[in-house]
């Protein structure tokens, strides 16, 4: 399935936004929280994770937690890469893990690398206590797991790509950001989600994002 072509010269709705309408970061990237979420999910489901899965889990954990509580679990900005929305910070962290493994056979702190030849997976060497997570964080991780890993396992990579490029609300927010060459805007993410779930009231969450 081809990824929708996006013409960067087309009119960009977001360009008419004032700066205050664009929110690309709600809090800085928390690398410890990223590690905790990935380790917890991989251990809970007894499933080593690929780089693609870790990148998408970060995005969807933060998206679902922000929709629920107005704050991400991990943080950082989300860039509209060709393969879909990805946090530059977690991409950089995992690239560093890969580099250290490939150059020095060094394992990332708290994880073990499984080398499958064509790709690497990681599994946790230690698992965080589930009392380190709030109920809302656990719920966001559960939903993210469904959108990322279960979708991949059930319908394959192309279905996952469609979700992150056009089919899902996050795909539509990605498309807007991609057309402008800017980070994903949290207001767009919430608006696109609201378009699918108009029975839910997101006004307080949007007000919370502005402070």
């Amino acid at each position: 399935m081809p990824i929708d072509q996006v013409d960067s010269s087309q009119n960009c709705a977001a360009q008419s936004f004032t700066m205050s309408d664009r929110i690309s970061q709600l809090q800085p990237f928390n690398e410890h929280r990223f590690d905790d979420c990935i380790a917890y999910l991989a251990a809970k489901h007894d499933r080593p994770l690929t780089v693609y899965e870790m990148m998408k889990l970060h995005v969807m954990i933060d998206v679902y937690h922000t929709l629920d509580r107005g704050t991400p679990v991990i943080g950082g900005t989300i860039w509209p890469f060709t393969n879909g929305p990805v946090s530059r910070s977690s991409k950089s962290r995992v690239s560093q893990w890969q580099k250290q493994y490939e150059m020095k056979a060094q394992m990332p702190d708290g994880f073990l690398v499984i080398d499958e030849g064509d790709r690497l997976r990681v599994k946790p060497a230690r698992v965080p206590d589930d009392e380190d997570f709030s109920e809302s964080e656990l719920a966001a991780m559960h939903r993210a797991w469904g959108d990322v890993v279960e979708l991949l396992d059930k319908n394959g990579f192309l279905a996952s790509q469609a979700f992150f490029h056009c089919d899902g609300f996050i795909g539509r927010a990605w498309k807007k950001a991609r057309s402008c060459g800017q980070n994903l805007n949290w207001n767009d993410i919430i608006d696109e989600y609201h378009a699918e779930h108009s029975d839910e009231d997101h006004s307080r969450i949007k007000a919370l994002l502005r402070i």
Partner: protein, 152 residues
């Protein structure tokens, strides 16, 4: 680090203008912490949020604690000490490294820490989905310590 007040620009809201944040609890294992921000009592956006939160049924003591910063903070630099809403409903969990990137402007006195920790516990009691059990345990310990030794 606990009780330290930093000027932090955590999001790009307001063109990334910084606000004071107090470190309420730290997690040594995870090397992160929970911070609560302060806003001027006459700020438009904080009052807009408080209005919506009240409409949703939240009580004021679950949303903020109002403190006179001149009385509750020992400032370590020149900083306008205003009456402020410390917005407990807007707590964030951040890496300690990210917090230390901000400018430290002072130290919250134990009485202020006690007020903020109590409000976070009140929030967790009415909204138990928000804070982790370990965070609530740490907050209860903090309140206990502050009540046993108010000067600590």
């Amino acid at each position: 680090m606990q009780g330290s007040v930093y000027q932090l620009a955590l999001s790009d809201v307001d063109d990334g203008n910084p606000h004071p944040h107090v470190v309420v609890i730290t997690f040594s294992g995870n090397r992160d912490c929970i911070v609560v921000p302060a806003y001027s009592v006459d700020g438009f956006k904080i009052n807009e949020y408080i209005g919506l939160a009240r409409q949703d049924g939240l009580e004021d003591d679950q949303i903020f604690v109002q403190l006179d910063n001149a009385q509750y903070i020992d400032f370590t630099c020149h900083f306008p000490a205003k009456e402020a809403f410390w917005c407990t409903a807007r707590y964030r969990r951040l890496s300690q490294h990210a917090v230390q990137q901000g400018k430290r402007i002072g130290q919250m006195k134990p009485a202020g820490m006690h007020e903020i920790a109590k409000r976070l516990i009140a929030l967790a009691e009415t909204d138990p989905r928000g804070l982790s059990r370990n965070a609530v345990k740490a907050l209860r310990n903090l309140v206990k310590v502050l009540e046993l030794d108010p000067a600590s």
